[in-house]
């Protein structure tokens, strides 16, 4: 039976922003729809309205011509709308089966049979009796999907489903979604990843700043056209100029190992590499393969053997981050809000986190606020941070501006080496371009970069040399010109 879902003139206003501005959309089963937009474009609000989590200020939802009153998530379930959220709603300590039956009123036994059938049909091999915490992210997502399928949904909404998946898991997911679609389930796929849209979907609706910008068929679109619709500006293509090759070695890592006590961390095994002045070494890999540990070892958050890291002819393996900064290293961690900056503190206080002796931020144990503020103003103007109020708490900066502040804070000391980890993760295209230009500029000034990133395009664009990390081991280091994204993909999967 054909399913028709209609969103009619939906508006949702939050204090200070219009999340959905008079959005109307129509979906029919048999197709996979993409809902595309940057962070904050209003996609999540719209699907939360569809799943009853948020009640719209105005507008109506129709399923097969019936006006739905979605006042709670259970209303959505009753009306055969299933939703898989980006962040899983599972009880980690309960078993898979217990998680599945929690919100069901069917008999345990008949439900078990039903679940077995679903798993067989879609090839989801999951042990129902182990606790959820032992599952990988991809398996957890499958549990969420099964939870929806139990109810024979007419509509299945997936919110940014691949952000936690490996490439292997992503392609499995796509196969399943195509199968669901063939069986008549209407699929709505929310994402900001353009490649996935091109790969998976039949139609695409683009949102920007709460408004619906366009609805079109995928075959009439390409990545550039969608990107332009998404950001509303023409993308600049930056190309790195071929760097002058230098043979002046800046940092050398020798036989570096790290064994973690935490089973959720990855051990690093026999890491060896070196970076010359003016060079950018890119480290690719699927997240969770030791990138975070490698960053911490390089920054000094994890201390290693003294001789395992040689920087500018000094052994610094046993120094903490503050001590390493004195040797002109700088660090930009992955997590902007929980590590690189403190959102509840003011901009200038966040600047003081990069404290090096010559900064004179602190004299004899006392805070030198004037010095810090002076320095902060310079960062804000030099790095285009869009505010003039250094007393502003940094939580009021957008992701892009916060990242500029962090990169600015790290670079204003003119370090010899910047180590950054996913520097453009979650940023909009304008900010990404700015950060990329900045990183290229650093190399041009004969300073070096170690760029750990899960974004292959970014790595190919910025790196002079590339290595791939897989299960805590580095591949051999390759010249960037010789590398293609296909080749990286193979290495990321663990092949030699």
């Amino acid at each position: 039976m054909n399913t028709n879902l209609k969103i009619s003139n939906v508006t949702k206003i939050y204090p200070g922003c219009v999340a959905n501005d008079n959005v109307s959309l129509e979906f029919n089963s048999g197709k996979i729809y993409a809902l595309l937009g940057e962070n904050g474009a209003g996609k999540s609000t719209l699907v939360k309205i569809l799943s009853g989590v948020i009640i719209p200020d105005e507008g109506k939802i129709y399923l097969n011509e019936n006006n739905l009153n979605l006042n709670s998530p259970s209303d959505a379930k009753k009306n055969d709308i299933g939703m898989v959220f980006q962040h899983f709603n599972l009880f980690e300590t309960l078993s898979v089966f217990e998680n599945l039956i929690i919100d069901s009123d069917e008999q345990r036994e008949s439900l078990r049979e039903k679940i077995d059938l679903i798993m067989k049909k879609y090839n989801f091999p999951i042990d129902l009796d182990i606790p959820v915490l032992n599952l990988s992210a991809g398996q957890k997502q499958k549990v969420e999907i099964i939870r929806c399928l139990i109810r024979n949904p007419k509509v299945l909404i997936m919110d940014e489903p691949t952000s936690v998946l490996t490439e292997q898991e992503t392609s499995e997911l796509f196969l399943s979604l195509k199968k669901f679609s063939e069986e008549g389930i209407l699929i709505i796929y929310i994402t900001h990843k353009l490649k996935e849209v091109m790969q998976l979907c039949d139609e695409v609706a683009v949102m920007r700043r709460g408004k619906l910008v366009s609805v079109s068929e995928i075959k009439n679109e390409n990545i550039e056209s969608l990107a332009n619709k998404m950001v509303g500006q023409n993308l600049k293509t930056i190309k790195k100029k071929k760097a002058k090759t230098s043979s002046d070695q800046l940092i050398k890592i020798t036989n570096l190992n790290f064994t973690s006590e935490d089973p959720f961390e990855t051990n690093l095994m026999d890491i060896n590499f070196s970076v010359n002045r003016g060079e950018c070494l890119g480290i690719a890999g699927i997240s969770g393969n030791g990138q975070s540990e490698l960053f911490q070892v390089l920054s000094g958050e994890i201390i290693s053997e003294k001789k395992s890291i040689e920087f500018n002819n000094n052994y610094i393996g046993d120094l903490n981050p503050q001590e390493r900064r004195e040797y002109l290293m700088a660090f930009s961690p992955e997590d902007r809000l929980e590590q690189a900056a403190i959102p509840q503190m003011k901009i200038f206080e966040n600047v003081a986190l990069n404290n090096f002796k010559s900064s004179n931020f602190f004299n004899n144990g006392l805070i030198n606020e004037n010095k810090i503020k002076e320095h902060s103003k310079k960062i804000i103007s030099d790095f285009n941070v869009n505010t003039d109020n250094i007393e502003l708490k940094s939580q009021f900066l957008s992701g892009g501006n916060l990242q500029k502040l962090i990169i600015g804070r790290e670079l204003i000391t003119s370090p010899d080496l910047l180590i950054c980890f996913n520097p453009t993760w979650g940023l909009d295209v304008g900010a990404i371009n700015y950060i990329h230009e900045t990183l290229i500029k650093i190399n041009e000034q004969n300073k070096s970069i170690i760029l750990i990133s899960t974004d292959t395009d970014e790595l190919l664009k910025l790196s002079d040399k590339i290595s791939v990390i897989h299960k805590g081991k580095l591949s051999k280091i390759m010249n960037a010109e010789e590398v293609t994204s296909e080749k990286l993909g193979i290495l990321m999967g663990g092949a030699n």
Binding site: N320, Q322, A352
Partner: protein, 354 residues
């Protein structure tokens, strides 16, 4: 039509205005409660808030009650500003009192200028030791400091109970649950003849000045703040984050312990079961009402201290249970939290659009 609009950033003026608003709303609600109980609201509020401090004795009593509140709240402000939720100041106060009381009892027959400093120091150390338990459990075993510190309050009260009933009870005390009186050398000197206000107030004032300086002016204070917000950030900046957490707990424990010393070596002069009318808990309200700022805490401790006195006056003159004091403390916190909404949102009045 009324519309709630999110502020772009919290207003600084509102930040200092909401505590005043909260006090005002507490008075209004309090008046209403008195009215419902059949009293004349203004008269009752006068009994509650003005009569108790209308004379010198009353005023000195106010300072007497405000002293421990201020001291504890200053200590707590270190914890709260660095996101460590130490709810157990009452326990740290009690344990500080136990340790310092124990030391004072050792010297019960002796006189000497050296006794008082030792007793005071013992109290601070006792409070610190007790506060170190939730701190260490939090930093090394990931326990929740709210639960641990809160539950330890009852442990310390039971220890005190056991001591004053058992091994430390006064041999000549007819089995009353109390210890001997401390010697005069172990007592804080009174400031004025005939008033109970004692030298403990200087401890509180010193704490105010020192805490302001440390938190706002020193690198150490900055590191405490950063570590409190995020241990990951502290590590990234190269600070010893775990040590900072333990340090703020020790500071707050020391302050609570000192408050305990002030009570037992000041107005009480011995250990017994009820050495604190929940100062350790009430100080949490004081800390927030004072916006975790040292000067704010001074004012807040005075305001909240009145509720203790007012409750006593009201009990005597109006035959209302003295627990009314706690009702007022609760209302202050309630209205403060409620009016803090205005920090982030503003109310807009819009002409109706037809």
């Amino acid at each position: 039509m009324i519309k709630i609009v999110k502020r772009d950033q919290p207003s600084k003026a509102i930040f200092f205005f909401t505590p005043v608003l909260a006090i005002f709303l507490t008075l209004v609600a309090g008046g209403l409660i008195f009215f419902i109980l059949g009293f004349k609201p203004f008269e009752a509020l006068k009994f509650f808030f003005i009569i108790p401090i209308a004379d010198t004795y009353g005023f000195s009593e106010l300072l007497l009650k405000a002293t421990p509140l201020c001291l504890i709240a200053i200590g707590l402000s270190f914890c709260f500003k660095s996101n460590n939720w130490n709810i157990g100041a009452e326990g740290q106060l009690t344990f500080g009192a136990i340790v310092s009381g124990g030391v004072a009892l050792l010297f019960y027959e002796q006189e000497g200028f050296y006794i008082l400093p030792i007793v005071i120091l013992a109290g601070a150390i006792g409070g610190m030791l007790y506060a170190s338990i939730p701190a260490i459990l939090k930093t090394y075993f990931n326990t929740n400091e709210i639960l641990v510190s809160l539950m330890l309050v009852y442990v310390s009260k039971l220890i005190l109970d056991y001591l004053v009933v058992g091994p430390w009870s006064n041999p000549e005390g007819f089995n009353f649950p109390e210890t001997r009186q401390f010697s005069d050398s172990a007592k804080l000197p009174l400031l004025f003849e005939g008033l109970r206000i004692h030298a403990g107030i200087f401890l509180a004032l010193a704490a105010v000045v020192i805490s302001w300086f440390v938190f706002y002016k020193t690198y150490l204070g900055f590191q405490m703040k950063v570590s409190g917000f995020s241990l990951k950030t502290a590590k990234y900046a190269g600070y010893k984050g775990k040590k900072m957490i333990i340090l703020v707990f020790l500071i707050s424990g020391a302050c609570a312990g000192l408050a305990g010393v002030g009570e037992i070596t000041g107005p009480i002069g011995q250990l017994h079961r009820e050495i604190s009318p929940d100062y350790g808990f009430t100080a949490i309200i004081v800390a927030f009402l004072g916006r975790l700022h040292p000067v704010g805490i001074i004012f807040a401790s005075l305001v909240v201290a009145i509720t203790y006195l007012g409750a006593e006056t009201a009990q005597i003159f109006m035959q209302i249970p003295k627990y009314t004091g706690q009702v007022f403390q609760g209302m202050i916190l309630f209205f403060l939290l409620a009016s803090d909404y205005l920090l982030f949102f503003k109310i807009k009045f819009i002409g109706s659009k037809q």
